[in-house]
C-alpha cells in the first residue's frame, strides 16, 4: 500500500526536514498528541464497519456450520452443529440443495458470459462515438446513455416488466417486423435448446441425457440462458453500459492527440488508427471494465427479486438470490449462509485472478505513465501513487454497486 509515501502533509512543505527526524517527539510540540483525536474521528467508522460487516461475517461463518432454522438465537447449544455438511451437500449429496445450487451456477455462468462481453462492447462503441470531436451535443448523449445507470434498479425493473409483457412494447416491435414474440417471463426454454430445436435436434442425444458433473445432465448444463433470463440480460446491459462507457471515455481522453495526429500524417486510415493506436492504449481500461463487469455480474440480485424470483422453472435463479431465498423463504439459514460464502469465494478468486493478470501487464511500458508523472508534479507527491493502489478497490466496490443496481 502506498500510505507510507504520504505520511501526512509534510511532503508538500518546501522546508520539510529530512525524513529521519520527522517522527521524533519534537514535532508533537506543534502538533500535540493526535492519537486521541485520531481514534475519536475514526471511531464511528470502525465501530459500524466492525459491528455490521466484520462481526456479521464471523457470525454467518458459524451459522453456515449449523442447521439453525431462524428460531431463537443461533448461538446456543440447542442449535445442531453439522460441520461442513452445508457446504459438502451443495457438491456431493444428491438432493434439492445441490440441484438448486448447480442450476443457479449454470444460470449465472451464462448470464456473465453474455452480459460482460455485450456490455463491454457496447460501452466501448458508445464511448468511441461520443468521443468523436466533430459531433455536437455530445454532453447530452453522454448523459442520456448514463442516465439508466443512476436510476433505481427496482423502478427500472418495473418498467422492463411492462416492456417485456406479453402484449408489451418489445413484442409489439417484433410484431412490426413479422416476428411472434415469446411470453418472456413464462418461457423457461434455454436459448441453446431452442437453437438446436431449430436445426432439428428436439430430443437430447443419448450421450447427453445423463452423467454431467454434480448430478446435472450435460443436456441441462448446455441449455443456454432461458428466454426469461434473456430479458433480464437485456435490462442489465441497458443499465450498466453507461457506467462503463464513462470509464472508456475518461481513458480515451488520455490518448494524446499528437499521437493520433501523427498516425494520421503517416496515412493511417480511420480503422487503422482505431485498431493500432487507440485500442492498444485503452487496453488497461478494457481489462478493468471486464473484471468489474464479471465481479458485478456474479452479484445480480435486485432484478431477479423484482422480475422473476428465480422462475420460470428456476432458470433465473442465481447464487445471490438463491442464498437469500434459502435463508428467508425456506428458513435454512445454514445452507443459505454456505451459498453466500461460496459466492464470496468465487468473487475473491476472480478478484485475485484479476490482480495476478494486472501485475503481469503492469510490467510493460505504458504511455499512461507519462501522463501520471506530469500530474504528480501538479498534484503534489503521493496523490497519483495512492490513486494507483486504491482506485482499483474503489472501482471494485463501485462495480458492486453497479452490479446490484443494474
Amino acid at each position: 500500500m502506498a500510505t507510507d509515501v504520504l505520511a501526512g502533509p509534510d511532503g508538500a512543505r518546501p522546508a520539510a526536514p529530512a525524513p529521519a527526524p520527522r517522527r521524533t517527539r519534537r514535532r508533537r510540540g506543534i502538533r500535540g498528541d493526535e492519537a486521541p483525536a485520531g481514534w475519536l474521528f475514526v471511531a464511528p467508522v470502525v465501530v459500524i464497519l466492525g459491528l455490521f460487516m466484520l462481526l456479521p461475517i464471523l457470525m454467518a461463518l458459524w451459522v453456515s456450520l449449523t442447521d439453525w432454522n431462524g428460531q431463537g438465537s443461533p448461538f446456543t447449544s440447542r442449535v445442531p452443529l453439522v460441520g461442513l455438511d452445508n457446504y459438502t451437500d451443495l457438491f456431493t449429496r444428491d438432493g434439492l440443495a445441490r440441484q438448486n445450487f448447480m442450476t443457479s451456477i449454470r444460470n449465472n455462468i451464462y448470464y456473465v458470459g453474455i452480459v460482460v462481453p455485450v456490455q463491454t462492447a457496447l460501452a466501448l462503441f458508445l464511448a468511441l462515438v461520443v468521443n468523436n470531436r466533430m459531433l455536437r451535443g455530445r454532453g447530452f448523449f453522454r448523459a442520456a446513455f448514463y442516465f439508466p445507470s443512476v436510476t433505481s434498479s427496482v423502478a427500472i425493473s418495473v418498467v422492463f416488466l411492462f416492456i417485456f409483457a406479453n402484449s408489451g412494447a418489445v413484442n409489439r416491435l417484433l410484431a412490426m417486423f413479422g416476428f411472434d414474440g415469446p411470453q418472456w417471463f413464462a418461457d423457461s426454454r434455454g436459448v441453446l435448446h431452442i437453437l438446436l430445436g431449430a436445426v432439428g435436434v428436439d430430443e437430447p442425444p443419448a450421450a447427453l441425457t445423463s452423467g454431467g458433473p454434480f448430478g446435472m445432465a450435460w443436456w441441462d448444463w448446455l441449455s443456454g440462458p432461458s428466454v426469461a433470463m434473456c430479458s433480464i440480460i437485456v435490462l442489465v446491459v441497458w443499465t450498466t453500459s453507461g457506467t462503463f462507457m464513462l470509464m472508456f471515455l475518461a481513458a480515451l481522453q488520455q490518448v494524446p492527440e499528437t499521437l493520433e495526429e501523427a498516425s494520421e500524417l503517416d496515412g493511417a486510415t480511420r480503422w487503422q488508427r482505431l485498431r493500432f493506436v487507440t485500442l492498444p492504449m485503452l487496453r488497461p481500461t478494457l481489462f478493468l471494465v471486464l473484471v468489474l463487469g464479471v465481479i458485478g455480474s456474479w452479484q445480480v440480485f435486485d432484478q431477479i427479486y423484482v422480475m422473476s424470483q428465480g422462475d420460470p422453472a428456476k432458470t433465473t435463479l442465481t447464487p445471490a438470490y438463491l442464498s437469500y431465498r434459502t435463508a428467508f423463504r425456506d428458513f435454512e439459514y445454514g445452507t443459505g449462509a454456505a451459498i453466500s460464502f461460496l459466492l464470496f469465494l468465487i468473487i475473491i478468486l476472480l478478484t485475485l485472478g484479476q490482480r495476478w493478470l494486472l501485475r503481469e501487464r503492469d510490467s510493460g511500458p505504458r504511455p499512461r505513465r507519462r501522463a501520471r508523472s506530469r500530474a504528480d508534479r501538479a498534484g503534489g507527491p503521493g496523490t497519483a501513487e495512492v490513486g494507483r493502489s486504491g482506485a482499483a478497490e474503489a472501482g471494485r466496490s463501485r462495480a458492486a454497486e453497479t452490479g446490484r443496481r443494474s
Binding site: L6, R31, E34, A37, G38, F41, V42, V45, L49, L51, M53, L54, M59, A60, L126, R133, R138, F141, A144, F145, Y146, F147, V150, S152, S153, V154, A155, I156, V158, L161, F162, L173, W238, L246, M247, A250, T285, L288, W298, Q299, V306, M307, A320, A327, F328, S340, R372, R374, D376, G379, G382, V386, G387, A391, A392, G395, R396, S397, E401, R404
Partner: protein
C-alpha cells in the same frame, strides 16, 4: 484550485471535455467526410432512443387506462388521459408512507455517511496515530466485500442485537460506507497542508481544524460523497429485505417490489406500477440533471486504475 476540483480520483479522472474551442485549422482537417458525420449522428440518435424511450413509455403509460396501456404499449401519448391510476397510487397504496420512510432513511443515512466519512477521511489523511494504517487497510478491504454476500450476516447481527424490524435497522448498518471514507481520504491528501499549518500555529484543535478549516475546502468531495450516498440509499433494496419485515417500515424500493409481487390484487395494473416507479425515480433524476458532473466523477472513481 485545479487540484481541488479533482478530489481523490487522481489526476487522470476529469469530466470528459465537451465543447472546448478548437482551432479552425484542426476542424478543417478533421471535419472531412459528411457521410461519417451523418453515421455518427444516426448512431447517437438511435442509442439515445434505446436508452431514453423506456422512460418515455413509462411516463406515457402511467397516464393511460389499463386496456389502453395493454393495447398501445409503445405509444407515448394516452388515447384518453386517465389520472385515476396516479390517484390510486396515493389513495389505494401505502405510497405516501413509503415515500416518508425513504425520505427519512435517505436523509439520515446521507448526513451520517458524509459526516463520518469526512471525519474519518480527515483523520486517516492528516492525523498521526498508531493503527492508522491498519484502519485504512480494513476500510479498503471492506470495500472489496460484495454486498450481496452480507445479506444473511447482516440479518444475523440485527436479529442478535434486537434491532430487526426497526428504523435503526434500516439506518445504522448503512450509516458508514467504506467507499466514502476512501474518497474523502484521497481528497484530503490532495490539498496542500499550508492552511492547516497556519491554523495549527494559532492553536486550533483537531476538531475545529476539521470543521472550520478543512471541511469548507472539501466541497467537491463532499458533494460527490453526498450524491453517491443519496443515490445509493434512495435506491437500496437488498438491505431493507433483511432489516425489516413490517409493511409500516417499507421504503420506496421495497414497497414497489411489493406492488409488483402482487399485493395489488386483480389485474396487472401496469399504469399504477409505472406511475409509482416514475415517482420513485424523480428525485434521483433531478439530482442527476443538476449535479451530472459529480455523478460522472463518482462513476470514474474506478477508471483510474490503468
Amino acid at each position: 484550485m485545479a487540484v481541488l476540483t479533482q478530489p481523490g480520483s487522481g489526476p487522470t479522472v476529469r469530466p470528459p471535455r465537451d465543447e472546448e474551442p478548437r482551432t479552425p485549422q484542426r476542424r478543417r482537417r478533421r471535419g472531412g467526410n459528411p457521410a461519417v458525420t451523418f453515421a455518427g449522428y444516426a448512431v447517437l440518435v438511435f442509442f439515445a432512443l434505446v436508452f431514453l424511450y423506456p422512460f418515455v413509455i413509462q411516463l406515457g403509460n402511467a397516464f393511460k387506462t389499463e386496456p389502453d396501456a395493454a393495447a398501445n404499449p409503445l405509444s407515448p401519448i394516452p388515447t384518453v388521459l386517465d389520472l385515476s391510476s396516479v390517484q390510486r397510487i396515493f389513495e389505494g397504496t401505502d405510497f405516501p408512507l413509503w415515500l416518508g420512510n425513504s425520505t427519512l432513511v435517505t436523509v439520515v443515512v446521507t448526513l451520517g455517511r458524509v459526516f463520518f466519512a469526512s471525519l474519518a477521511g480527515y483523520a486517516l489523511a492528516r492525523l498521526r496515530f498508531t493503527g492508522r494504517r491498519t484502519v485504512f487497510a480494513v476500510v479498503v478491504a471492506m470495500m472489496a466485500v460484495p454486498p450481496v454476500v452480507l445479506l444473511i450476516p447482516k440479518f444475523l447481527v440485527l436479529n442478535q442485537l434486537g434491532l430487526y424490524n426497526s428504523y435503526a435497522a434500516l439506518i445504522v448498518p448503512v450509516l458508514v460506507d467504506a467507499t466514502g471514507v476512501f474518497v474523502m481520504k484521497q481528497f484530503f491528501e490532495s490539498i496542500p497542508a499550508s492552511v492547516e499549518e497556519a491554523a495549527r500555529i494559532d492553536g486550533v484543535g483537531p476538531f475545529r481544524m476539521y470543521w472550520s478549516v478543512v471541511l469548507p475546502m472539501a466541497r467537491p468531495a463532499l458533494i460527490t460523497v453526498t450524491i453517491m450516498s443519496f443515490q445509493g440509499s434512495w435506491n437500496e433494496l437488498p438491505h431493507t429485505l433483511v432489516a425489516v419485515q413490517d409493511p409500516g417500515l417499507f421504503t420506496l424500493p421495497r414497497g414497489l417490489a411489493d406492488l409488483v409481487s402482487g399485493s395489488l390484487g386483480k389485474g396487472s395494473q401496469y399504469p399504477l406500477k409505472l406511475g409509482a416507479a416514475l415517482l420513485a425515480t424523480i428525485p434521483v433524476a433531478i439530482l442527476f440533471v443538476v449535479f451530472q458532473r459529480y455523478f460522472v466523477r463518482g462513476a470514474n472513481e474506478g477508471a483510474e486504475k490503468g
